[in-house]
Symmetry: C2
Subunit: 102 residues, 2 copies
Amino acid sequence: MPRESMPREMAIPEELISLRMSIDNIDAALVYLLAERFKCTRMVGTLKASSGLPAADPTREVEQVARLRRLAEAANLDPVFAEKFLKFITEEVIRHHNAVRS
Amino acid sequence: MPRESMPREMAIPEELISLRMSIDNIDAALVYLLAERFKCTRMVGTLKASSGLPAADPTREVEQVARLRRLAEAANLDPVFAEKFLKFITEEVIRHHNAVRS
């Protein structure tokens, strides 16, 4: 790794500013996609509750994990992280579903 | 699966199939966006390490949380969840940064 330091006046290098702008753009896209995903899962929750279907579907969940891991590998994202991510989102979905049923 | 081939109580409503397809599409988009975000944060990590900048930037982090909460409100996403989400992603970023520095 190069050891030469940045000049002191360049506290925030241009490259860092540019990367942060990209991260901020991606975060905005993630927030809007997550909002859309929860809109879908709320509809799933309402549909399941109204049609007497069980909230959990283990077969679907196994398929989702396997698919997400494949997608993560294709995208060069750690599949273990992708699985953790799905679990994190699903915990929120379950919280919503319970709120619909209570 | 064709409806006639399964018992009535096992049938998955068309609306549920459609919603699951939307969720799967959104998940693919999320995976690719997350891959791109980690690509950016890895570059940030390398840049910080090579230029002697500290890994953490509390001012930036406070701004990111505030911005994400505002975006979440605009997108009708729970701002508390949005903040939890950023924390979840950031923990993975820190894991990557530590790997670069070790």
